[in-house]
């Protein structure tokens, strides 16, 4: 049984929260560079140029790339041979978020749903924990902005609607979102499971590297078809019109009830931040 100190978890989460907000992933930077070259609309190319400059300023001056430093969504893979010592596991993560958002001068964006009073420290984070074989602890922090989250949807389709129904809902979600979620976007699609599982699958789909190919050929084909459909909408960077509305569509699928076909569409803005730490 491997022991991991709760303080180590707090420290890892704190650092990940800060660096996720300062340093955009290489996959996103490469996608911006490609966009700057390939986008047909002049205003769209200008947006890509600004996003590259923005990412550079954030990384070199150590400031957040976007003022919306997100609600901290945290995916945890906890090895079953790990014993967390010296404190409460969940609290250790929340404390890491508290310290990261405080010390990193990140915006605290959480509030009471009704009074709208800010919680003051960006907690509570939303934590999804999975127990897995092994003695490692993997923590992935996803600071999720409100603008793109607001444009996300869950649909409970009739099984008869099938694949055409899924494609229709994904395209409708992106079309209705238009310029609001800060395109160019990443579209995460979760198919199957239950009402809540579909949403988690869609969010997990956002973590995959932009430019990677889905290992399941049927899903890879669907992703390609959806990406073309989304980009044919013409929304373009910042919604000003253009060929590149989405940089990627990622699909994750799992079996569902014989009566159901849950589909979740989670939209991610171009500040597609995620940082993984393995302890």
């Amino acid at each position: 049984m491997r022991q991991i100190d709760a303080k180590e978890i707090t420290r890892a989460v704190k650092e990940a929260a800060i660096t996720a907000n300062f340093d955009l992933g290489e996959d996103m930077l490469a996608a911006f560079k490609r966009g700057e070259k390939e986008e047909e609309s002049p205003s769209g190319r200008e947006v890509f140029r600004q996003l590259l400059e923005n990412a550079k300023i954030a990384a070199t001056e150590r400031v957040p790339m976007c003022q919306d430093c997100g609600l901290a969504v945290i995916f945890v893979e906890l090895g079953q041979d790990v014993h967390v010592t010296g404190g409460d596991f969940q609290q250790a993560i929340q404390e890491g978020v508290r310290q990261g958002y405080g010390e990193g001068f990140l915006r605290k964006s959480l509030c009471h749903p009704l009074t709208r009073a800010n919680t003051g420290d960006n907690t509570p984070a939303v934590i999804h924990t999975e127990i897995v074989p092994g003695d490692h602890l993997k923590i992935t922090i996803v600071p999720k902005g409100g603008g793109s989250e607001n444009m996300s949807r869950v649909f409970m389709l009739k099984p008869a609607e099938g694949l055409p129904g899924i494609i229709d809902r994904v395209l409708a979600t992106v079309r209705e979102a238009g310029p609001n979620p800060c395109p160019p976007i990443i579209v995460g699609v979760g198919i199957g499971g239950t009402f809540e599982r579909a949403g988690i699958l869609a969010k997990k789909a956002l973590l995959r590297h932009v430019g990677s190919v889905n290992p399941e050929p049927e899903l890879a084909a669907l992703e390609k078809q959806l990406l073309q459909g989304v980009n044919d909408l013409g929304i373009g960077p910042q919604g000003l019109g253009g060929r590149i509305t989405a940089l990627a569509v990622h699909v994750v699928m799992q079996p569902c009830h014989i009566a159901s076909l849950p589909v979740a569409v989670n939209i991610q803005c171009h500040a597609a931040r995620h940082k993984e730490v393995v302890l």
């Binding site: 205003s43 003022q67 603008g147 459909g229 373009g236 060929r243």
Partner: protein, 196 residues
């Protein structure tokens, strides 16, 4: 053909009516910030017959909730937030004399109509370019509702803050026009690929 216009508030009707969708705008001078929570407070003050903390006549409102300033910096990241959340308050703001709003994302048809009625414009800044835009901000101070934190009303002094005219006071909408230009069916896409 789009043009580049320098705007310096307070704005007159003349400043605003010359603007057309697609024009590039560079804002220099004093602007104010407000998101939904601050708008709600303003409406509550008006309903109670109290004085507002800012005279919005001729002013530009920037929909932004900046991240905190690091020591030695004026402000944190400061890009636009999604504007539709302010739509229900906008008619009243325009009645107060507000001349321009900076944000990102679509406005409701009734807001676009009210912009025509009161001669005002809606400008789009690049959403998510918070670090870049913050470099145009030379001074920042909270002037109302400090308890709202990032949602407080800030007075910003800006230099050449870049934006683009999304809705002008003739009822034009750059989002609709731009998307129409690039929207295509699968058939036209395949034909375009063959021609290449």
């Amino acid at each position: 053909m789009s043009k580049t216009v320098h705007l310096r508030p307070p704005l007159t009707d003349g400043d605003v009516v010359q603007l057309e969708i697609g024009d590039k705008v560079l804002v220099t001078g004093v602007i104010y910030t407000a998101r939904d929570a601050a708008h709600k407070r303003l409406m509550d003050l008006l309903a109670a017959g109290k004085e507002l903390p800012v005279d919005f006549k001729g002013q530009i409102l920037y929909y932004v909730g900046p991240s905190p300033a690091k020591p030695g910096r004026v402000i944190g990241a400061a890009g636009p937030t999604t504007s539709y959340r302010m739509d229900s308050y906008t008619h009243t703001m325009l009645q107060l004399g507000l001349k321009a709003m900076i944000g990102k994302g679509k406005r409701a048809p009734e807001v676009i109509a009210a912009m025509q009625q009161y001669k005002a414009v809606y400008l789009g800044a690049t959403g998510g370019a918070g670090a870049l835009i913050s470099q145009c901000i030379k001074k920042a101070e909270v002037v109302a509702f400090p308890e709202l934190g990032p949602e407080a009303i800030h007075r910003l002094e800006v230099e050449n803050l870049p934006a683009i005219v999304i809705n002008d006071c003739q009822g034009g909408d750059l989002y609709e026009l731009g998307v129409k230009e690039y929207r295509r069916s699968a058939e036209t896409r395949d034909n375009a690929a063959e021609c290449r």
